[in-house]
Symmetry: C2
Subunit: 420 residues, 2 copies
């Protein structure tokens, strides 16, 4: 199938078509593969070309956008003309649009009457969150679906109206997926470790995606035999997990902060942070999870040395002799914040995010992270590549990963259990 995203704003440097990701996910779930995506502006000739070319190639075309009330919005008219269908006004739709405006205490502007125009033979897909209905048309064994652009209108319409209709035609083929995520290994190492396994299974599409501090491994199998595919993927995941070892942090597509939140909650543990170069990003990730107040106590974002002393009790002399960016200061931050907040774990981060203030012996990207627990403090030194934002992101993920690994080790020790 092909997706056509309509809208001149999608051809500027400022906005991109993100709807198609959502749509692809829903279509893949139904066993339907997207073979092309096109973005065109609100221009009749361009629109006509896009639809006529797509209809020559594929059986299903879904277009998003261009169903609004203004003169710019031409999708409905262009497609009706291309398919040789007259437009007529649907009085039910018109009454629905008028009622919607009345609910908000307004009269329907005359322009909105256009949204009640329906091509002959089209099935109207009700819009529960806006005025433009969707349209489903069948022609010469092909299906053309027109959906509104605003995501809050598109999504419920796809779920309620489009997915069930496609499901009935799917012929039983579905997509089965797994998502593994890895922290602490570069992409080339991940590839090297898992290639011998996944290349044995060409029937499973394996995609490795790298982002700063994290590698995702997507497994996708198209099949009509659910039991077989689920078993195949489970076995493949098991073998990949063995190859990746403790670097693997989820087999269910969770974010690292979700995994850390789950582990902290399970252990009844709390955490406090003293962070310098990450500038609040570590706290922001930890608190991005709903309900994070159960494990997150506080973060001291301390750029100045004075505040490192004041909030985390880092001795001024230590910063003087070792430098603010040092393993010793990271340890003092972690231990100090743990002590002053009473948290189960204290996390300390200090480093040089750049672009300025790097030094030959401590270049930009140098980051020290320490994790203080009840009986011991661990620290690690990192050298992250990239710009300020990449260094900060990698440092944040590395810090979260140290928390995850702490519990991994705690549980692996005979009789070991993280203290709550």
């Amino acid at each position: 199938m092909e997706i056509i995203a309509v809208g001149s704003e999608l051809l500027t440097p400022y906005r991109m078509d993100t709807n198609s990701l959502y749509l692809t996910e829903g279509l893949n779930r139904l066993g339907i593969e997207v073979v092309r995506k096109v973005v065109v502006g609100d221009e009749p000739g361009q629109l006509r070309d896009a639809f006529s070319e797509a209809l020559k190639r594929v059986e299903l075309v879904i277009a998003i956008g261009g169903l609004g009330p203004t003169q710019d919005d031409l999708t409905r008219e262009v497609v009706a003309e291309l398919l040789g269908r007259k437009l007529h006004r649907d009085e039910d739709i018109l009454r629905g649009i008028e009622a919607r405006f009345r609910r908000f205490g307004r009269n329907m502007p005359e322009v909105n009457a256009r949204q009640a125009m329906v091509p002959e033979g089209a099935t109207v897909l009700p819009n529960t969150a806006g005025t433009a209905p969707g349209l489903w048309m069948e022609t010469d064994g092909r299906i053309v679906v027109l959906l509104p652009g605003p995501p809050q209108e598109l999504k419920p319409m796809f779920e309620r109206e489009v997915a069930p209709r496609l499901e009935r035609r799917s012929g039983g083929v579905h997509l089965f997926t797994r998502e593994l995520r890895v922290a602490g290994l570069p992409e080339s190492d991940v590839e090297q470790r898992i290639a011998p396994t996944y290349t044995q299974h060409p029937e499973v599409q394996t995609t490795i995606l790298a982002s700063p501090g994290e590698i995702q491994i997507h497994l996708r199998a198209w099949s009509a035999d659910a039991a077989h595919s689920e078993k195949l993927l489970d076995e493949l995941v098991k073998r990949l997990a063995l190859a990746l070892g403790e670097n693997l942090f989820t087999t269910q597509g969770e974010s690292l902060e979700e995994v850390v939140a789950r582990i902290l909650n399970a252990g009844g543990a709390t955490i406090a942070v003293a962070e310098s170069c990450t500038g609040g990003m570590l706290a922001e990730r930890l608190t991005s999870i709903p309900g994070s107040s159960s494990y997150f106590l506080s973060s001291a974002v301390c750029y100045s040395n004075a505040m490192k002393s004041e909030w985390a009790g880092v001795p001024a002399a230590l910063m003087e002799t070792k430098g603010a960016v040092s393993a010793e200061v990271a340890r003092a931050l972690a231990e100090g914040i743990r002590r002053s907040t009473g948290a189960t774990l204290g996390l300390g981060v200090t480093g040089i995010a750049g672009p300025a203030s790097g030094m030959p012996e401590k270049p930009v990207g140098t980051v020290h992270i320490a994790l203080a627990g009840e009986t011991e403090t661990r620290d690690r030194e990192f050298h992250f590549p990239g710009d300020r934002n990449r260094v900060r992101t990698q440092a944040t993920l590395a810090a979260l990963d140290m928390v995850r690994r702490y519990f991994l080790y705690a549980q692996a020790r005979p009789g070991g259990q993280a203290k709550g």
Copy 2:
């Protein structure tokens, strides 16, 4: 012109073509409009269709991706075949690739030799950051350019090799742009205020884009007369600025944190934050700017009431009687953090980001923000719509905007000047 982004991973729900935004920006600057973007997988038939259709419609086609060394990468071969050109091995390129591998202490894998294959008559575009050279081909008055997919390879190649060649052919038409940004007004109010002005200038494309807490207004004029266009845009910006008043925070596309950083630096002022519901996001924004240590002292990210007392001196009794989410506690946070850090300004944020823990009298989205200066403390109450992330983002931007407006007022007062 049309952009073809090549890569099967771009047809999954996990990854999207972002290169085309960068390319669009560069092409627009040269006066070249993008009329269509296509995403296709690494599949010969699909690739061939995309190129042959594009060449029927437009004079310039730029493809990104599919030049790698593996069997998946087919762009070079498919385009050569489509244009009826034989591929030959370019020994210079081959030596360059071999040398690149040697610099990293490795031998060139045999597969990389494919990247030295060049279609007859093609101009080779050197790759300064990777192994795959780009290719520039002219055929029947059309231009086809093939560029590598990794952004760190694509960008320098576009700037050094592609832009200058296109510039020579541009015929003098260029794009002139302005970007205004607004905080503290909803999109519909922005539209209502500026529509009477911008609709008088249909020769300038005006696009209004809303994101949580911020509205962008993009003005674009295509013209061969630079002096005329610059003057027209300057006058339009002046009139829009008048309509938007103090809600306008930049006419140069700066982020709100960039503007705040500039204002704080100009006034020699420092800032410290005590934030609860924003969970570090406010500190993260303030420190995302290189050199932020000149104005940012620290943020106390205090979820627990105990830490609000400890770090910002908020009286426990106040939180008891007024509730942690209240104007009084926001003021106490702002004044307390200002006092304990010695900053010029103290910023306090407390609210309910959700999704749980809303109450009838304090629903999710309720946020109190206070800004404490030398002589006065201001506070505001907000009710932000949306999910946890949207509430946190809007609260962060509203807090930054209070800092910006503080200096606005300070400078507007007779003899007024922010204290450093």
